[in-house]
């Protein structure tokens, strides 16, 4: 693998890291958390071309098939103008070949899984995917997130990869972002001018693009306390059983008013079927207040299908993806209902 030349900066504090990000903005700077996505992005291709990291995205509201090149920013992009490949342009400003990497490895305060007094969960952005995978707390209360961790990459990737990195990279297929959105997660972003919290669903803005500012770092992710009679699940559909980017990923969180009663609340998040992970709002309309049965669940699954905006790419066609959104949503709703029943 051929990498470009870069310098590595090692901040001792989050503030220092933010300063580094803003100081080197002009020369190109990127964060090094686990490095598992970063290395892939930094790799210099032999043949200049678009490397398919589009993850089934489209920026077109009607789901028209867009080629990757059409997705690319205009020629005015400085990277395009300087002869950079289409690929680097696609990745957005933070994905350029950087002169500096800011390695976060000394920021231990960003690691760890913490149960909060209100029953919620705080996970530091630098927490490894394997730590999340192994956490009994996560598996018990936020099952979809544990299942996202199970499905991500391989054991080696999970040991290095971080929750924050997976979410902050804003890939439409990110296995941790999709459950985080369904679970109602909130992201804490810290920058020179202070700290702000933002719902995970509002974070991504396009493939590799997000609302994060140049000098901001994602520090922790907060998951609300599980409510009674609730549960969650995630499923990743792909061509093999590990080391995959999903063809479709679906996360479902659902709460009942009472055992056997109507749906109090539901959130379904869809991965790899749009430019960003999609929170399927229509499912809420279709299911909240209804007693779950095969008919209402099917209506909900069809609603999810209607919210998907996939394209054709090398991982799968839009035709297949929308069907799988429906199928997987239906299955996961059943799975979650069973989990709620079984946990009584």
């Amino acid at each position: 693998m051929i990498l470009p030349r870069f310098d590595v900066l090692v901040p001792e504090t989050v503030d220092e890291a933010c300063t580094m990000l803003s100081d080197h903005a002009d020369e190109g700077v990127r964060l090094l958390a686990g490095g598992t996505d970063l290395l892939v992005d930094l790799r210099r291709p032999i043949i200049p071309q678009h490397v398919p990291r589009c993850d089934g995205c489209t920026t077109h509201p009607e789901g028209r098939v867009l080629s990757t090149i059409e997705c690319a920013p205009s020629d005015s992009d400085p990277l395009m103008a300087s002869g950079g490949s289409i690929r680097t342009a696609l990745e957005g400003p933070r994905h350029a070949a950087p002169a500096f990497l800011v390695s976060l490895h000394k920021l231990d305060q960003l690691r760890g899984i913490e149960r909060l007094a209100d029953g919620g969960l705080r996970i530091g952005a630098l927490t490894s995917i394997s730590e999340i995978e192994r956490s009994p707390d996560v598996r018990e209360g936020w099952t979809a997130l544990a299942e996202g961790a199970d499905s991500l990459g391989s054991p080696l990737v999970r040991n290095r990869g971080t929750l924050g990195g997976n979410i902050a990279n804003a890939r439409p297929a990110a296995d941790m972002a999709v459950p985080t959105i369904a679970l109602g997660g909130t992201l804490t972003l810290k920058g020179s001018s202070g700290t702000c919290d933002i719902p995970a669903k509002d974070f991504p803005r396009g493939p590799g693009l997000s609302v994060i500012k140049q000098d901001e770092i994602l520090t922790d992710i907060h998951y609300p306390s599980p409510v009674p009679y609730s549960g969650s699940a995630y499923y990743k559909l792909a061509n093999r059983k590990a080391l995959e980017i999903s063809t479709v990923g679906v996360a479902v969180w659902l709460a009942l008013k009472e055992p056997g009663g109507p749906v109090a609340d539901v959130q379904v998040a869809l991965g790899a079927v749009g430019p960003v992970p999609i929170l399927a709002e229509s499912v809420r309309e279709a299911l909240i207040g209804k007693v779950p049965n095969e008919k209402t669940l099917l209506q909900a699954a069809q609603a999810a299908r209607g919210d998907a905006r996939p394209i054709d790419d090398h991982r799968g066609s839009a035709w297949y993806r929308v069907q799988m959104v429906e199928q997987l949503t239906l299955r996961l709703l059943r799975t979650v209902l069973k989990r709620i029943r079984d946990s009584k």
Binding site: M1, I2, R5, V40, R44, P45, I46, I47, P48, Q49, H50, P52, S154, L237, N239, R240, K241, A242, L243, E244, I245, T247, H314, G316, S317, Y320, Q323, M324, Q327, L328
Partner: protein, 789 residues
């Protein structure tokens, strides 16, 4: 109880510890003083005329030692088959695929070399491209090569027996189709090359290659160097599977850079370059029409095949022959017609890959047999058993099978997998998401003829007895590329000389040691095994004759066993010899005090008598095959055969396929090393499963590979692997050493079709396009549903 002490055991591989601990040296590990780094400029365009190449800026970059193009390399055509020399070291008139080599640079480090390649300015006139093999032959298509009219690189038209008679005899005739995608062999070690010259004008190249001898010849020819001054050495190699069996532009370019700079030059491929260079599995489009009689016996096969081979010929001419010839068995088939076309397109070049041209053809034929069984209401295994050939039979295309455990292999997997219990009777399918399928296949045990026209020995082996006594050194040009041939040579030598494995040193993979055609066509155990046995026996004879002379007994009464000289005719008085040996070794410990003369003593005394003791062995197959055009491809001194049963679970809504179990049985004649035979079978099953379900090179509309990396080019992971059972069948091949024949490639033949047949059993739908991704399966299931209404 085996008749052998070393052979037919699970002896650990001689290189296992070195590879497990990282001590084994691959080409990229090798260090030379003042070594330069090489880099290649690849074409970014799939088809273009080269108007001008300006290297001046690259040459001026500090740290650059040489920049070479066709101007320095010349334009001597080379390739694999002398009938299709269509490549030059660098492109000079046109580029024909994205990745085609235009220039190379040697510099003080990789960064400088890469920067220099980016400074080479090439003016192109872009030409229209041919990307679809199916239309490449059409009128008005852009032409890649002047020598290939209508982009046809090779064609084969065969007719054995009488198809029309076969039609008349047929009770049932059906036509089926299957196509595949270009593939990558996905070996672990990317190609790596280190080249160095000496003041005498000699050239040494270390390379991750399967075939030092062929590479030596191509380097000498294309670079115009006397053959004897070119030495090719193969260090440890991390897999080849075919693509490393021919000389590459990168090898030629690295040698040229070493010659021009007078310094060693190393060039190692990035994984993307492995995909660009490719030379892996072709894309196949097969159509087969098969007729059977009422009782299920085969009446005829009419077979059409189109091969998309990418931009150059490579092994393609052999590929197209193999696609047709290896359907001659393993079933009795009197009438067979084959029409094959290999076309060139503006894509990376296809060549040989495990199973060569026969794999996708075999897949379709075995799928078709299941469809026929279903229509006849016969059990698919019974249909096969009814047709299998037996030892001593000859196929319609004149392939003679001297041993053939096809029936035994098929019965073994049928019984081991409890086929009769799991499979519905009468060829009916289950269609409930669970399925079981069977298939067979066979393959050559070494190509009957070399790639260049010659009556050369295919291999020679020199076994030299240590002059100090005690051990032997086996020297061979054979290429251990991870398949374990060094272990096989050590085991054969130890067996013959009555030694332990660690008393045998194997030197191999070096063109200066001996002629050996290399690791391809599953040839090494049979062919180099023969030569190795002969060399060991020659050395043994010399030792025993010397000792017999000293002891004044007939040599025939002596033998070497378990490190000792044993007498078959009463006790020996060897005290004089022992005394001499002990006198030589004053101060040594562990001196022999056994009641028998040791091998160390005997080999030392024999040296004192004779001087250097060298045993030699050689092997060349007898003339094989018919006299029709192309009859030589597919011939072999022996044929291995394989049967497998796959059990799958299909998610009928998402199309996800889980292969739960594959039971395989392979007739390898005689297992020299039991563990290695099983390893080849397991590796074949894994590779075939990837081809069946995951593997495909994907191109964009400019001929660029979209998935030129192992993240997006999918091969099975550990989690995808089913439970594997490997059953060894031993048919005692008369033409093989100790009865041994191949297992390296034959075991891949049944994998794809047994999985496809199991998927059909599970779903009731056939797929006509590989790989069977979940999406393709869902599409096929929905299409079948709408047809049924």
């Amino acid at each position: 109880m085996s008749k052998h002490r070393i052979l037919n055991t699970r002896a650990p591989r001689v290189d296992a510890a070195d590879k497990a601990t990282g001590k084994a040296l691959y080409t990229d590990d090798l260090k030379r003083p003042s070594v330069l780094t090489g880099a290649i400029l690849h074409s970014p365009l799939a088809h273009a005329r080269i108007l001008n190449i300006d290297t001046s800026r690259a040459e001026k970059l500090p740290g650059v030692k040489a920049v070479v193009t066709h101007r320095e390399a010349g334009t001597t055509p080379y390739g694999v088959s002398p009938a299709r020399y269509d490549e030059t070291v660098f492109c000079h008139d046109k580029v024909r695929y994205v990745g085609d080599e235009i220039a190379a640079v040697a510099a003080i480090d990789l960064d400088t070399a890469l920067e220099a390649t980016s400074l080479i300015k090439v003016d192109f006139e872009e030409l229209p491209v041919v990307l679809d093999g199916r239309t490449a032959m059409d009128e008005g298509q852009p032409q890649l090569h002047e020598m290939y009219k209508n982009n046809i690189c090779a064609q084969v038209h065969w007719h054995f027996g009488d198809i029309e008679e076969g039609r008349r005899e047929s009770h049932l005739i059906r036509t089926d189709r299957l196509s595949s995608k270009m593939q990558d062999a996905a070996f672990m070690e990317p190609q790596s090359i280190l080249a160095e010259t000496e003041s005498s004008g000699s050239l040494t190249m270390w390379s991750s290659t399967q075939a030092p001898h062929y590479i030596q010849r191509t380097l000498a020819m294309a670079l115009n160097i006397p053959l004897h001054k070119v030495r090719v050495i193969k260090p440890a190699v991390g897999g080849g599977f075919g693509p490393k069996a021919s000389c590459s532009s990168a090898e030629l370019a690295t040698c040229l850079l070493a010659i021009r700079t007078g310094q060693p030059v190393k060039l190692t491929f990035d994984r993307e370059q492995v995909f660009l260079h490719s030379r892996a599995r072709h894309q196949f489009f097969h159509t087969m029409t098969t007729g059977v009689k009422k009782d299920g016996s085969l009446a005829f096969l009419e077979h059409e095949c189109l091969l998309d081979g990418g931009a150059y010929a490579s092994f393609g001419i052999a590929t197209i022959y193999y696609s047709g010839s290896l359907l001659g068995g393993p079933y009795r088939l009197k009438n067979m017609k084959y029409d094959g076309h290999r076309v060139v397109t503006n894509k990376p070049v296809c060549g040989a890959q495990r199973g060569h041209g026969a794999v996708i053809a075999r897949a379709l034929f075995e799928v078709q047999l299941d469809r026929i069984a279903e229509e006849l209401g016969m059990d698919p295994v019974e249909l096969r058993l009814k047709n299998v050939m037996e030892a001593g039979e000859t196929t319609c295309n004149e392939l003679f099978v001297s041993s053939f455990g096809m029936r035994e292999a098929l019965e073994a997997v049928r019984d081991s997998a409890a086929w009769k219990k799991k499979r519905s009777s009468g060829g009916k399918t289950r269609r409930d998401g669970k399925g079981i399928g069977a298939a067979c296949g066979f393959f050559v045990s070494g190509a009957g003829y070399p790639i260049y026209r010659s009556r050369t020995y295919h291999c020679t082996v020199v076994t030299k007895v240590d002059e100090v006594g005690g051990g032997v050194t086996v020297s061979s040009g054979a290429a251990d590329i991870g398949q374990g041939s060094d272990t096989v040579l050590a085991m054969i030598t130890a067996e013959e000389l009555g030694l332990n494995l660690d008393d045998v040193r194997v030197l191999s993979g070096d063109s200066s040691l001996s002629v050996d055609l290399g690791a391809y066509s599953s040839r090494t155990t049979l062919m180099t095994g023969h030569a190795c046995r002969e060399a060991a026996r020659d050395a043994k004879k010399q030792i025993l004759e010397a000792i017999a002379g000293k002891l004044e007994v007939p040599a025939e009464t002596l033998d070497l066993r378990e490190g000792k000289v044993v007498s078959l005719a009463g006790e020996l008085d060897f005290s004089r010899l022992r005394k001499e040996y002990l006198q030589e070794h004053k101060g040594f410990s562990d001196l022999p005090d056994t009641p028998q003369l040791t091998f160390a003593e005997a080999s030392r005394i024999a040296f004192l008598e004779l001087g250097t003791i060298v045993g030699t062995g050689k092997y060349r197959p007898p003339p094989l095959g018919g006299s029709f055009k192309g009859a030589k491809v597919g011939t072999s001194p022996a044929f291995g055969c394989s049967a497998q049963i796959a059990e799958v679970t299909v998610d009928l809504e998402t199309g996800e396929i889980t292969v739960g179990h594959i039971t395989g049985a392979h007739d390898c004649g005689y297992a020299i090393n039991v563990t290695q035979v099983e390893g080849q079978m397991q590796g074949s099953m894994m590779m075939g499963m990837g081809e069946a379900l995951m593997e495909q090179i994907i191109y964009d509309n400019k001929g660029r590979i979209v998935n030129a990396n192992l993240a997006e080019y999918k091969i099975p992971t550990a989690l995808d692997m089913p439970h594997l059972d490997a059953i060894i069948v031993e048919s005692n091949e008369p033409n093989g050493p100790y009865g041994a024949k191949e297992v390296g490639e034959g075991a891949i033949m049944p994998v794809i079709p047994c999985i496809l047949n199991a998927i059909y059993d599970a779903t009731g739908v056939r797929i006509e396009e590989l790989p069977v991704t979940p999406e393709r399966l869902v599409a096929a299931m929905q299409a079948a549903k709408s047809r049924r209404g």
